[in-house]
C-alpha cells in the first residue's frame, strides 16, 4: 500500500509538473490595448461638414494634481487628421461661421489597478492545491482537514491603466435643463501604460487608426 501511494504521489507530481504550466496571457503592455467604439445607428453622419475640436484634452486627475499634457498635441493632431480625412472641416471656435455641426470632446484618465495573488495558484481552481507526501506519518491536501494544510503566501502588484476617450455630439441637441448630452459616436482606447513615450505614441496612433477603421458609418455610407 505504501509503495502504491508512493507511486501515486510520484506520478501526480509528474502530471502536475506537465500540466501546471498555466497557459499564457498578456506579456507586453501593448497586448492589453483595447479599442472600443459605439454609435447611434439612427444618426446620419453624412450630414456633418464642420466639427469643433479643442486644442486641449480634459485630463481627469486627483485634486491638486497637475495633468501631464505632453501628448495632447500629438493626440489632437491624429484625431484632426482622421476627421479631416472624412471630408469634414475643423473649426477651433464654437461660434465660428459656419457654425460647427458637431463637437468632439477628448478626455484622458489614468487609474491604478491592484492585483492580489495567492501562491500556489493553478488557474481555474477555487482554492490552493498542494499534494503532500512525507514518509509514512501523514499525507493530505489543503482544506480537507487531513495532514498539514498548505496556505502559501500572498503578494500584491499594481499597474497603471490609461484611457483616452472622445465623444462626438451635436451642441444644438444638448438638453441644458436636464444636463444631458446625446453622444452620437464615442471612441475609447484603453490599456496598461508603459514607460516609453515613443511606444505610447505608437499605441495611441494604432488605436485611433483602428477606432476610425471600425467606424465606417462615419463616412455616411
Amino acid at each position: 500500500m505504501k509503495y502504491l501511494l508512493f507511486k501515486i504521489g510520484t506520478l501526480v507530481g509528474i502530471v502536475f509538473t506537465l500540466t501546471a504550466c498555466y497557459p499564457g496571457g498578456a506579456e507586453y503592455t501593448s497586448d492589453t490595448d483595447l479599442v472600443v467604439t459605439d454609435y447611434n445607428p439612427d444618426y446620419d453622419f453624412g450630414d456633418i461638414h464642420y466639427y469643433y475640436l479643442s486644442d486641449s484634452i480634459n485630463h481627469i486627475v486627483e485634486e491638486d494634481d497637475t495633468p501631464d499634457r505632453t501628448l495632447d498635441p500629438f493626440v489632437i493632431g491624429l484625431l484632426e487628421d482622421q476627421l479631416n480625412a472624412l471630408g469634414w472641416e475643423r473649426s477651433t471656435d464654437t461660434i465660428a461661421d459656419p457654425e460647427p455641426d458637431v463637437s468632439i470632446v477628448v478626455a484622458a484618465i489614468t487609474v491604478t489597478n491592484y492585483n492580489i495573488y495567492q501562491i500556489p495558484w493553478y488557474g481555474g481552481w477555487g482554492w490552493g492545491w498542494g499534494w503532500y507526501y512525507k514518509g509514512t506519518d501523514y499525507w493530505g491536501y489543503p482544506g480537507y482537514g487531513w495532514g498539514y494544510p498548505y496556505y502559501g503566501y500572498t503578494y500584491v502588484t499594481s499597474y497603471d491603466v490609461g484611457t483616452l476617450a472622445w465623444f462626438l455630439f451635436e451642441p444644438d441637441k444638448v438638453d441644458i435643463e436636464d444636463e444631458l448630452i446625446f453622444v452620437e459616436w464615442a471612441g475609447v482606447i484603453n490599456g496598461v501604460l508603459g514607460s516609453s513615450t515613443s511606444s505610447t505614441e505608437d499605441r495611441i496612433e494604432r488605436g485611433i487608426d483602428q477606432a476610425f477603421n471600425q467606424s465606417s458609418y462615419l463616412s455616411g455610407e
Partner: protein, 204 residues
C-alpha cells in the same frame, strides 16, 4: 447555489473520488490509473477555442463486479487556451478590438461503468464504457484589462473506448479515447470535446 456551497460540494465529491482511487489501489479486484490527457474541442467549444488542449490529466478508479464489468469514478482536468491577436467583435452597436485570451478549464467528475473483452487480465484487453455526472466548467475571455468569466456546474456524459496493455503483473499501459458532451447551464454554451488519454494503470 453560492460559490461556497459549490466548493464544499466539490470537495466532498473530490474526497469520494480520491477515496475511491485509494481503495481501488488497495483492493485486489480494483484498477486505478493516472493519465496524461489531450483534448480537442468540437462544436461550440471548438468554435470558441480551435487549438487542441495539451494540458490535462485524468485520474480513475475502477472496481470489478464481475470478470467483464467494472464500476468506478473519474476526475479529469483539461485546460483549453487560445490567443486571438487583434480580434474584433461586436456587441449591439459597440465594436471591440483587442487581443483576446480565451480559456476553458473543464473538470468532469464522473461515475463510470466499463465492459471488458476477454477474461485474461494478463493479456491485452479492450474495453467499452462511459460515464456521466457533473462537470465544472470555467470559461473565461480576457481582453485588454477586462475579463468575462462563466463558471458553472453542468451535467454531461462521456462514452469511451480504450485498451489496457500489460507491462508487468500488476501494471498496464492505459490508452483511451472518449467523447464528452456537456449540457448548457444558464447562459453558457453546451460543450463537447474529444479526449485522448495515455497513462499507467495498477491493480488486478
Amino acid at each position: 447555489m453560492n460559490d461556497l456551497k459549490k466548493q464544499i460540494i466539490m470537495k466532498y465529491i473530490l474526497t469520494i473520488l480520491v477515496a475511491l482511487l485509494i481503495s481501488a489501489a488497495g483492493y485486489s479486484q480494483g484498477l486505478y490509473s493516472i493519465n496524461y490527457t489531450t483534448s480537442y474541442g468540437v462544436g461550440k467549444t471548438g468554435d470558441y477555442i480551435k487549438s487542441p488542449s495539451f494540458r490535462g490529466m485524468t485520474f480513475e478508479g475502477r472496481g470489478f463486479i464481475s470478470d467483464h464489468v467494472s464500476i468506478g469514478g473519474l476526475f479529469t482536468w483539461s485546460t483549453f487556451y487560445e490567443k486571438l491577436g487583434g480580434a474584433t467583435f461586436n456587441y449591439e452597436n459597440a465594436t471591440f478590438t483587442g487581443t483576446q485570451y480565451r480559456y476553458i478549464n473543464a473538470f468532469p467528475l464522473l461515475v463510470q461503468a466499463h465492459y471488458y473483452l476477454g477474461v485474461d487480465k494478463y493479456e491485452t484487453r479492450l474495453y467499452l464504457g462511459g460515464g456521466l455526472g457533473p462537470y465544472i466548467i470555467n470559461q473565461r475571455t480576457n481582453v485588454g484589462v477586462w475579463s468575462v468569466e462563466e463558471k458553472n456546474w453542468h451535467f454531461g456524459f462521456s462514452p469511451e473506448v480504450g485498451v489496457l496493455l500489460p507491462i508487468s503483473m500488476d501494471t498496464r499501459i492505459n490508452v483511451s479515447f472518449r467523447y464528452h458532451y456537456v449540457f448548457k447551464a444558464k447562459d453558457t454554451i453546451d460543450h463537447s470535446w474529444f479526449g485522448l488519454s495515455v497513462g499507467l494503470a495498477w491493480g488486478e
